[in-house]
């Protein structure tokens, strides 16, 4: 992407919503409210949200929640979800035991 973004741009105040306690990241148990709050703390990219809250950093590595988180962050920032760059994909695609990962054929 690499577009210039001034992080002091006004995105409005954090306004509590009735479904803020809805769990979004099932693995790390992060709620919608925590994600929305993080956006107001300045975490404007999916990578920053992930590093700040651990969304998508659990066992499933965001297989279930990444699309949901993207939608929430986009709405909070008032942009289209397509404008948000998803977090990097990294090996291993599935959890692998250390003894297996370390045993190369």
């Amino acid at each position: 992407m690499n577009t210039v973004v001034d992080r002091s741009k006004d995105i409005g105040e954090f306004v509590p919503q009735p479904d803020d306690d809805m769990l979004i990241c099932r693995c790390e148990e992060i709620t919608k409210g925590e994600i929305r709050k993080a956006v107001h703390d300045g975490m404007w990219t999916l990578t920053e949200i992930r590093r700040y809250l651990r969304t998508g950093m659990g066992l499933c590595q965001g297989q279930t929640c990444s699309r949901l988180v993207k939608g929430i962050v986009a709405r909070e920032l008032g942009v289209s979800p397509a404008e948000l760059e998803p977090a990097t994909s990294r090996s291993p695609m599935r959890p692998v035991e250390m003894k297996v990962f370390g045993s190369e054929a």
Partner: protein, 110 residues
């Protein structure tokens, strides 16, 4: 939940041999090499684990090894994806609490 004895399109399902395993200390039966989660479901087990932060119950969600919600402690190892791990004779399967095996309540178990 019930196993489907005869399916209108697929007919009768071929099963492996019947094996015994323990769930939180209780003796249960299932078929060899079917996913652990299926054997548990056939025995009416819905709760596979309790989450770490909120202590909320979780069970099968995706059934194909992606979501990792169905993980349990199997033969002492935590975080085993039961929906894609084949059942074997004598397996020790325990409800997971956070990242450890849940304590078996008084009066339960063998």
């Amino acid at each position: 939940m019930e196993r489907i004895a005869e399916h209108p399109i697929l007919g009768a399902k071929e099963k492996g041999r019947e094996v015994s395993f323990t769930f939180d200390g209780k003796q249960l039966k299932g078929f060899e090499d079917e996913p652990i989660a299926i054997a548990l479901k056939a025995n009416g087990v819905m709760i596979h684990r309790y989450t770490k932060k909120e202590h909320k119950p979780r069970g099968i969600f995706c059934a194909i090894g992606r979501c990792t919600d169905c993980v349990m402690v199997v033969d002492g190892k935590p975080n085993v994806r039961t929906c894609v791990t084949p059942l074997k004779e004598g397996m020790d399967i325990r409800t997971q609490d956070g990242v450890e095996a849940a304590e078996i309540k008084e009066g339960e178990g063998a």
